[in-house]
Symmetry: C2
């Protein structure tokens, strides 16, 4: 009997696991779920003899190899840096692989080997990346099939907290890996704007966000993600004049975060010297110019922006970064110290519902006329366990996996879900879970 | 007969080579000078049978090993990244090593091996690092020997162009490795200010430079170098309240350079997409926000500093970064593209004299009284070949080498010239070459 091995079964894996247990039962496959501790899944074994739970140390290369042996598919829900190791294991044991994470250079370099062994390494099949790709190329393919030409493509996605569960001035709580939030935007953002290449170094990424309006009239702000230019090729958008992919936040977040960036508090490249008893204020002050002005003006003087908005500075101070509380860490980079503070301040409470928001803005020409499509997604979670984030990451991966098993495709190697044979059934089935885009199309009269 | 092997003999090696040829002749040692092309040194062989010139490819590991075989001392004048390779060669062939460059982690890690073989690996023995260390610890040791306590140590050094040879608004021409100038300040500067740790991320390093006044009344500005805190231990300055080491420029340089930093033009982490025929203006504009304001205001809007000084913006535009000239490169990081432009704009002409400026500012307490020492050095070069920079880098290294050969010391392993047995004879002999500090001491009355 065929076997799926799932590596990693953290709290955010719930939707993926439930769906996958369900369809493996239907098609009569075995499933093995491995994590350091799987006891929270014990109840799933009732009435499911096909399910095997294994407690294992997945950072151990030998353990991993043993545990994936015999699998047809391996799904890695491990932290992203583990995926390449797992991919190499899969080459060794000749298993297909599925992950929700970005294809890095190393993963990409394994494509030819995977192909030569007849294997599929499906990646970027969660929310962002994942649903964003699938929903975007569906629209793009539709336009191109009609003979239209896409001139502008903008796409933004954010994992936030539902407005009525928000009780902090940032409008933000962690619904996914906090470290990614702290380090977001590092490196240089590159995109196309009206036919011009644009490069935004880290210190400008959060400086002047773009305003995004959802169908319900609510506004968000978007900052550009690292490399948007590569998507000209990925999305087959030759001759597109504008392309940018970015991240959504509630209004005010970016200008406030920009202060942390400018002061150097998101730096992850060196260990800050934390002596016993160091307070947040002492830590914070070590990044400020020494003078006797009020704290807001000291921040302004240090970053050299004398008219910086008071509300952005208020958000920064709200975090407690200038409090006399002792930092509960022995060492860490500034980014790690800031993350530790924010994990307490931006914690999703058990009754909080998170919010996933996505919007594509696509302009195209067809038969001499110009059109704009706004395609928007808005999903609320059901608490701090059954989050919108874990749902929108887990379900696409699970549905794509089922699709590839029940309707095999000829493509092999490293792939992402931009093939109609994957995105069509996945998007369709996601609709039955309420994951449904609202599409608005209008003609542009110049 | 004992042998010195000199690796690298570029144009800036003149002072080192002349001095070393002279003393090897006196003490009857052989000397081998190796570079890809040594023909410019052929005339030195007249009347000097001890000199051997070898044309060799020093990036080739085997070539290097062959050529240092039998040496008592190896001197590396190669680019700094080569020094660790040469150090490993020296361990293999059991030779002592001398360089003028900073001790990095890798070099430091070889210290125990060098020590166990009874070898000296002398580093940081040029100008900065080099003369700065020697002249600073000489003052510090004097104070400490009297029973004084150093409270504040500031030290700045810069390689500039003599004022009357300056014909550009930056007051800068390249007298040393241009790449180091372009990438200067990257990473985070850390120092102590009045008992407080201070961390300045790259985007603040050039923002608010400190004013430094030389004995002749001329003012310069100083920005902090990367890690000053490590020098508390190196200079034995326990309990010092202020310590900062930095770089000197003419007034106005830092605020103008800060614009390049903020726009991302000094980024060396990615390859900029240079299509054929791309102009500097197109390159520059890709870092600016798109709007119809005058160029100065576009720069201000992009960096978010609305009242940035006109003269700083004028300096940036003087470089031609917004000209319609085509960039003569096929590829490169923004930093490489900027360097290529500035190498033409900031070229030291054959009749230009460069200028080396250094100042230590040291406050100390002794017997209940407070004192300040200002120790300043000002050296002008003799043209674009016999530069002050090559003199102040080459002579300390050559004199230290002679000193270690003629008066062996017991210290082994990786060392820097903070030992009296090295700095005393070296500083003394440097005086005879006009490399002489002017010392001003005053009592501080509170």
């Amino acid at each position: 009997m065929s076997l799926i091995v799932v590596l990693g079964a953290g709290r955010s894996a719930g939707f993926f696991i439930d769906y996958t247990l369900d369809f493996t039962k239907q098609i009569g496959w075995n499933i093995r779920i491995v994590d350091i501790n799987t006891s929270h899944l014990d109840s799933k074994k009732i009435d499911n003899p096909q399910l095997e739970l294994v407690n294992g140390e997945l950072s151990d290369d030998h353990v991993r190899l043993e545990l994936i042996r015999g699998a047809t598919w391996v799904v890695s829900l491990l932290p992203a840096f583990m995926h390449v190791k797992v991919a190499k294991d899969c080459l060794h044991e000749v298993c297909n692989l599925a992950t929700a994470s970005y294809v890095g250079e190393e993963m990409d370099s394994l494509s030819i080997k995977a192909e030569s062994k007849g294997l599929i390494f499906l990646n970027e099949c969660g929310l962002d990346p994942g649903i964003d790709h699938m929903s975007a190329v569906k629209i793009i393919h539709n336009i191109q099939n009609k003979g239209g030409k896409v001139l502008s493509f903008k796409s933004f996605c954010g994992g936030l907290v539902a407005e009525d569960c928000n009780n902090n001035p940032w409008g933000y709580k962690f619904s996914w890996n906090p470290r990614n939030v702290i380090l977001a935007g590092q490196g240089t953002a590159s995109f196309l704007n009206q036919g011009k290449l644009k490069y935004q170094p880290y210190q400008h990424v959060f400086q002047n966000p773009e305003v995004i309006v959802l169908p319900d009239g609510k506004t968000y702000e978007g900052y550009p993600n690292r490399d948007s230019i590569g998507y000209v090729e990925v999305y087959n958008l030759k001759n597109v004049e504008t392309i940018v992919r970015g991240t959504l936040r509630y209004p005010g977040y970016c200008r406030a975060w920009n202060i942390f960036v400018h002061l150097g508090l998101t730096d992850d490249t060196y260990l800050y010297q934390l002596e016993e008893g160091t307070t947040y204020l002492e830590f914070f002050e070590s990044f400020l110019m020494q003078n006797k002005m009020p704290i807001g003006d000291r921040i302004r003087a240090t970053i050299g922006m004398n008219d910086y908005e008071e509300d952005a500075i208020d958000r920064v101070l709200w975090t407690g970064i200038n409090s006399n509380e002792v930092i509960p860490l022995k060492s860490g980079s500034p980014a790690v110290i800031l993350q530790n503070l924010l994990e307490r301040k931006w914690k999703l409470q058990s009754t909080d519902r998170d919010l996933v928001v996505m919007q594509h803005l696509i302009n195209y020409d067809l038969n001499g006329k110009s059109y704009e499509i706004k395609s928007s997604l808005c999903i609320e979670g059901e608490g701090d366990q059954r989050t919108a984030m874990s749902k929108t990451v887990g379900l696409p991966l699970a549905i794509a996996l089922k699709t590839l098993i029940t309707n095999p495709i000829s493509e092999k190697g490293v792939i992402i879900p931009i093939l109609p044979s994957i995105y069509e059934p996945v998007l369709k089935e996601l609709e039955s879970y309420g994951i449904l885009f609202k599409e608005q199309e209008s003609q542009i009269i110049n």
